[in-house]
């Protein structure tokens, strides 16, 4: 099915690497929170880098006749990877916008789930470029399980918030950050679903 490693696969792998790098940076950042401006700025840079990869893929799709997998699958996968980085970047920027400086155990737990999800995404993309499609399924399943964990975490964290936080503005801030973190795992699940459909159509 596939020819030699091409520009699409090379760029998708680079996106996988950037996702891991960005989410690990995010996880480190939320255990610090001493310089929110620098934190948001660096996350934005990584998001822009990911936008560049997206742009590269779209440009190549425009001038390439034969693609290693269907064009629609490349586009859908690229967009979904970009959504993950947009999601985590949007979380990071909320710390700055809301001036959130106090650490939060739930945010740490969410960040850990997201880091583990992007590691699974990166591994799945590597297998895709190695034409090991069926081996990808282990990782798509793991991503789905991590999304379930984030779902449980949202229930627990928001319940705790409403039970304990009496300042409405503080509650609004934390609630939105929790929800955006959980949403980022939904974007990871979207990646997994697209990978699943690529497996389905090509094996």
């Amino acid at each position: 099915m596939f020819k030699k490693k091409d520009i699409f696969f090379t760029t998708l792998e680079a996106m996988g690497d950037t996702l891991v790098e960005a989410t690990e940076y995010f996880a480190a950042g939320v255990s610090d929170l001493s310089n929110l401006t620098a934190f948001a700025k660096r996350m934005k840079e990584m998001e822009s880098q990911c936008d560049q990869f997206t742009h590269t893929i779209l440009k190549e799709l425009n001038k390439t006749f034969i693609t290693p997998i269907e064009r629609e699958d490349i586009m859908a996968l690229t967009t979904s990877l970009d959504d993950v980085l947009d999601g985590i970047e949007a979380c990071a920027s909320r710390f700055e916008m809301y001036n959130v400086r106090e650490k939060d155990e739930y945010i740490t737990l969410f960040a850990d789930v997201i880091v583990r999800s992007t590691h699974q995404i990166r591994k799945a993309i590597q297998l895709l470029t190695q034409k090991k499609l069926l081996a990808m399924r282990e990782h798509t399943i793991a991503i789905n399980e991590l999304e379930n964990q984030a779902d449980d975490l949202l229930r627990v964290s928001v319940t705790s918030l409403f039970a304990n936080v009496k300042d409405p503005i503080e509650l609004i801030k934390r609630k939105e950050i929790y929800e955006r973190l959980e949403q980022t795992t939904d974007y990871c699940e979207d990646v997994a679903n697209i990978l699943e459909s690529i497996i389905m159509r090509n094996s």
Copy 2:
């Protein structure tokens, strides 16, 4: 166009039944609210049952060459039905997460619209499996009208909330529940749109 009733149609019908059951359970639950934990737990069980049906369909799509309607349509329909149940389950869990114990006439009205929508969805799916495609349109139109009703209801209920509720945290809770209820009717409309496109492509 269709062969005999197959695993896809049987499972889609079961999803339709589960949607009706879950939304009727929800409607009964919101007029009680005495045991929020049991309420959220039972809704979660029905959502998991629906996930199982989704899983069955995806697994069958993987090993089946000939499907009664296009594979993409089966996937889109399955996903959209699953979204409806996810939506109503998310509403139910908010009662527990936010500890909302006081009844609310708007919630009752929303629940009623949603129950009527899932009855229309079930009927439309039954017609699909009976190959009566054009007869489905009556029900997709009804689903769209119910979504419009929910839209009006959201305007009225949120206006009333901002006019009458002075406790910001109480306002946050009710507003989100109203919005998620309205969103559930949007998911029903997505089902209707997918059914419409199936009618369009097959008649």
Copy 3:
């Protein structure tokens, strides 16, 4: 590739005109805010008009064999144009629902970005119907840049909100309006992405 100007192109152009008209009306409205009911009502009328255009296109797709561009592209484009008007109408209705009567410089800035986006959309649609596909790209790029501006505006406006507004209910109102305005530019970007994929597949 294209025949003479047909019902699809005529209706898409009418949708483009309605988008410009509605967003210009919106921009004028938010600098006044003296009659919120009339404002929301007129916006709703324009949204209904756009729904009629959508309905016309879907009905024609049902009875037409040969379409000037792929049916899926016509549907996706129609739906995305409709989403833009739904988005701006939802903003307008929040002024009434939340009884927001005080002018706001950020809302004025957002409205301006949205007006400029719909002008770009209208221009791109006109080029589509004139078969000048490559010339559309200038406008899709402009729409993407305007979306970036709205993104920056959201950061600045929400940061200002949390820094300055102490009344939680006032904060909830403004925050949601800012977010819905920014989301409307996301819908404009969706239009641009669909136009990009039409260019890609047809040139």
